[in-house]
Chain length 339, copies 2
DNA sequence: CCTGCGTTCCAAAACGTTTTGGAAAGGATA
DNA sequence: TATCCTTTCCAAAACGTTTTGGAACGCAGG
């Protein structure tokens, strides 16, 4: 059912029907009523493609899933997607999702989205310190918002957890509990957030006068296998750490498993801290101490910011850092050996 | 950069440029080369909206995420999404994702997708026995493919795990191990798959001459909390089951936790079986016996079938049942009390 | 009676493609 | 020379909207 058909039925012009439905003032109330009525009766729904073509916008925002993520490892992403999707849906914007294997194909997918005009704006997730996707979007002048910061030549719109503060706070808390040998299992260093987490950890160490020990620092992919491998290495050193700060809940749960396997009791002999507060964290045994992120809310904000960006809000007004409070559960406790 | 601009640059008509780029034979090789060359030089990419409008298709397929899923509980869905997304991307189709809260808004989202012509086809996930979404799509004559079967008035295109066979096989295996009191924690009964799983379980019991005991049957939402609640109830009955068949790995892991909390050893006193084979399953302690589904592959097939459906393949040729083989790990063993 | 001003309507252009139905030019055939 | 193909090109219509720039009408003020 098209506008033209509705117009013919009513003996009106398409112009009038269009303007009646879109609330213009140059159509009388009586005909407006007739039009709205008829439209509903015949089930008229505007053709989105035609609207978009005419308006010169796609009425959609794009997001790209690097498929590796999807490999079950991180429920995180689905949650983010749902947060974004719900809010966009309310704003009557489509969410166009592309899944591509991480690697060279990734940037191509962005190009296809942008240059084929399938999306008016892009949401970039899991930002890297040097991020070619962001460079590209800046070059093209495409509105975009990122989840996570990056090192860019000009300011960008982003939302991010304040991981530095969170890790500083957690580390400080562990120090307060008497820990001195605190290890960090960090994220891959190309991720911006990896640097933040490490910096927060180092901040707290410095404040307490504890030297950073490279032997207490490991890096891992953000999945459970990565967690077990890194934890295993750290825990089998001759003088092992008394506390483990993990980039991720998934990683932390991997560490927890290794500790159990090695016969190290948590939290008596080893404290473990995660990040994200996935539901799994609360249900682990012992329940995992972690830093909480409200991911769905972050997704929703991301969507709102994208709309704001499309509405012309300046990027400088679209930069948000979210607190990630420490949730102390059972996987942390006083350092062993009664300090 | 539009077709018109390219045409002007070359002193050709848009027709010729269009046809040159689309490989029609009524343009000479020399001009075709010139056109292709110029197009690449100025970075011409066709406007997808214009193409779509003209062709009368959206060049996109839609899928709707009931937001509840996203609640971290089930990595399943992300995996499916990635499988679908990758394949559609290769076919140069967009994937339009809507996230809406489960409930009345859900069907509206389908309507918006279909009637606004945002999608040429729809993928429906997590089918219910009586599924109004499917009824709607049939009524509208929209091509669609489902993940999971449903009770419909006419045949539909679907892909589904053969849960009945899988549950029958697992139950039979437990009986072989000497179990007689085998409980089933099933999915909510409105889901089609719930009936299949129960039927497979009952098939095996019947074959072994064991009567179905309603006290050994519970139903739960497909998340960890549901698993713990149902398992708790079943395990605290006076004569508790010696084996637990779970609708889901997530549910099974919940059950595992409860067993541990109640001091019931697995698998010595209680065998537990899951479904899906999430990576978490292999890493649980003890490692979970489960039925394997290759979800990403299912997603990919779903995408292929959608394309086939758009290409006119009959629904009867687009019905696939996938095996879900039993993966025996450490959470199952001989029935206690030496049968 | 003319002018000016609201009010209400509409024809036509535009968005960027694809496709239809020729047209022009050149060569071969009669 | 007239006719008929081939080859190569193109003008214009179409897809379904939104928007521009009036037009027609009635009415008040002069």
């Amino acid at each position: 059912m098209t506008l033209k058909r509705v117009a013919q039925d009513l003996n009106l012009s398409v112009t009038t029907v269009s303007r009646a439905l879109n609330g213009y003032s140059d159509v009388s109330e009586s005909t407006r009523e007739k039009v709205i009525d008829a439209a509903r009766r015949v089930g008229y729904v505007p053709n989105r493609l035609a609207q978009a073509l005419q308006r010169g916008t796609a009425e959609a925002v794009g997001i790209i899933l690097p498929s590796q993520f999807g490999h079950f490892e991180d429920p995180f992403f689905l949650e983010l997607l749902v947060g974004i999707g719900e809010r966009l849906h309310n704003a009557n914007l489509d969410l166009v999702v592309c899944a591509v294997p991480e690697g060279p194909a990734e940037l191509d997918a962005y190009k296809r989205l942008v240059e084929g005009r399938r999306a008016d704006a892009i949401i970039v997730a899991r930002t890297r310190r040097q991020d070619e996707r962001i460079d590209y979007l800046i070059d093209r002048g495409v509105p975009f918002v990122t989840h996570g910061r990056a090192e860019t030549r000009e300011p960008i719109a982003f939302i991010d957890a304040d991981a530095r503060t969170a890790f500083r706070r957690s580390t400080r808390r562990l120090i307060e509990l008497g820990h001195r040998r605190i290890a960090l299992i960090g994220a891959p260093e190309e991720l911006f957030t990896a640097g933040e987490r490490k910096a927060g950890y180092e901040d707290a160490l410095r404040e307490a006068g504890i030297a950073f020990d490279p032997n207490l620092y490991a890096v891992t992919k953000l999945n459970e296998r990565g967690g077990t491998a890194a934890a295993e290495r750290l825990l089998q050193a001759e003088t092992r750490p008394t506390a483990l700060l993990c980039a991720n809940d998934t990683v932390a749960l991997g560490a927890l498993r290794i500790a159990r396997r090695l016969g190290i009791t948590v939290p008596e002999e080893l404290s473990i801290v995660g990040f994200d507060d996935l539901p799994m964290a609360a249900q682990a045994e012992p329940a995992l101490t972690t830093m909480r992120q409200d991911i769905r809310r972050a997704g929703a904000r991301l969507a709102e910011m994208t709309c704001a960006r499309l509405g012309g809000t300046a990027v400088n007004d679209l930069q948000e850092l979210l607190e990630a409070p420490l949730i102390e559960r059972e996987s942390t406790g006083p350092a062993p050996g009664g300090a």
